[in-house]
């Protein structure tokens, strides 16, 4: 079974040379730490920066330079700042190649819900609706089940949707899955996790074909 860093590490392997990538808050942010050397990528943050670098050294933080998670950041050579309209021109115009974000629920048709629990929690969608409606490649990073142990990979989302038919791949603490016509296709198992355990934890239609390899990190 993977921890959060493990999930980030596995997702980092999906990041290809030349990609512009938008990382959501939480696990996705960790992905930046695991992109292999020799893979040139640039991270976009929808609040208006391209070419994000690591956190600043203590004392160097600048209130005017943050990411979408409101964290102080630095920029790398070749970076640029821009306004929100241009930032979403990048996203909506499909110039950002890959979006990695968290989810509360994903359905086996690629629907995703991650912004609202009616009557309980409403943080808002932020840029997530624009991202999932636009990106050609969307990877969800999340735990396979919620705190109550219930599956987050469903036949149908129960929460208000963020986007429809948009998720391409899901990396959880248990597995890597891709959305195919009619279900979650199991691609890889997390180290030490059996297909049976994944089946148990998946409410939506799970497609298992042949031997499912254990993931390499």
């Amino acid at each position: 079974m993977l921890d959060k860093d493990g999930i980030a590490k596995r997702i980092a392997k999906e990041v290809k040379d030349g990609y512009y990538v938008n990382l959501g808050i939480g696990i996705p942010t960790l992905v930046a730490n695991y992109v292999p050397d020799g893979i040139d990528v640039e991270f976009q943050s929808e609040n208006g920066v391209l070419g994000m670098g690591p956190f600043p050294y203590e004392g160097d933080e600048d209130a005017d330079i943050i990411n979408a998670g409101k964290q102080t950041i630095t920029t790398l050579p070749g970076a640029s700042f821009f306004d929100s309209a241009m930032s979403f021109a990048m996203i909506r115009g499909q110039h950002v190649h890959l979006t990695i974000l968290g989810a509360m629920e994903v359905a086996d048709n690629g629907d995703i819900a991650n912004w609202k629990i009616p009557g309980k929690m409403v943080k808002g969608m932020g840029g997530a609706m624009d991202l999932v409606a636009s990106a050609e490649n969307i990877i969800v990073a999340m735990m396979h089940t919620n705190k109550a142990g219930e599956s987050k990979l469903l036949k149908k989302c129960t929460l208000p949707l963020t986007g429809v038919n948009c998720v391409k791949k899901i990396v959880t603490n248990l597995a890597v899955l891709e959305i195919i016509d009619g279900g979650f296709r199991l691609l890889e198992r997390a180290p030490g996790v059996s297909v049976e355990e994944i089946k148990q934890a998946t409410e939506g239609r799970l497609v298992v074909e042949g031997d499912v390899p254990e993931m390499k990190l």
């Binding site: 609040n47 933080e61 600048d62 209130a63 409101k70 909506r92 808002g124 840029g127 609706m129 624009d130």
Partner: protein
């Protein structure tokens, strides 16, 4: 040169009234018009509508206006950093319209640019699209969104000149440029206000034509929400 300089925040906000609609720049607490928000609190106007990506935190930014119950309605994309906000919203005291962030930005930019409506894929198939026209272009579905209408845009820039030209800094830029000229009156507060001619005309982010009033803000706290650092 048409001089947009006013002497103070009080002069800059002349004409604000109860029930008006305000656009306010900033992302989180980054690039918010601190001095103008303080003045809106001081003036005590009520039942206002605020178009702003976020709602501040409990004791800073728009949170100050929320705490005094001056805001009747918020139009935002993300409001997750504010307990008082969540309380007022869940109790029904505060009306909230949540809008995808890119749509929020584009609705501002559309108002600035005289575009009454446009199509975006964001929110298609979700409750955000309910009651809105949808349409297919090239095999993909889109939602029609209309430009915002507001009385005042209040933005914060890094440098400005007397002609109203603005330059923003880093990610404090965010929604501020898109909101300039997107309301009947645009007020810009800046950290540094210089005479016309000192800024390079080639490096101006927002030309003065989009700004009606400009003043130098007395004080910037620039509070950091998530101070994240690494060890040297």
């Amino acid at each position: 040169m048409i001089n947009k300089r006013v002497a103070s925040v009080t002069e800059a906000l002349q004409g604000v009234r109860d029930e008006m609609t305000f656009m306010l720049g900033g992302f989180g607490l980054c690039g918010i018009p601190e001095n103008s928000i303080a003045e809106l609190v001081r003036l005590g106007i009520r039942d206002i509508t605020c178009i702003s990506n976020n709602a501040g935190v409990d004791d800073f930014g728009l949170g100050l206006l929320l705490r005094k119950r001056q805001i009747r309605k918020m139009i935002s994309s993300y409001v997750g950093e504010n307990d008082e906000f969540e309380r007022q919203m869940l109790s029904g005291e505060l009306e909230v319209e949540l809008t995808p962030q890119g749509t929020l930005a584009e609705k501002c930019r559309a108002a600035q640019a005289g575009i009454p409506a446009f199509f975006t894929p964001a929110g298609y198939g979700t409750e955000v699209a309910e009651g809105k026209e949808t349409r297919e272009f090239e095999g993909k579905m889109y939602v029609m969104e209309e430009a915002f209408r507001a009385d005042f845009s209040i933005v914060k820039a890094w440098k400005g000149d007397e002609a109203g030209n603005l330059i923003f800094k880093g990610t404090a830029r965010n929604f501020n440029p898109c909101m300039c000229g997107a309301a009947k009156i645009t007020v810009a507060e800046v950290e540094e206000l210089v005479p016309a001619g000192e800024l390079d005309p080639n490096q101006i982010h927002i030309p003065g034509i989009f700004v009606q009033r400009i003043f130098r803000g007395d004080h910037y706290e620039k509070r950091i929400e998530q101070r994240t650092v690494r060890k040297r």
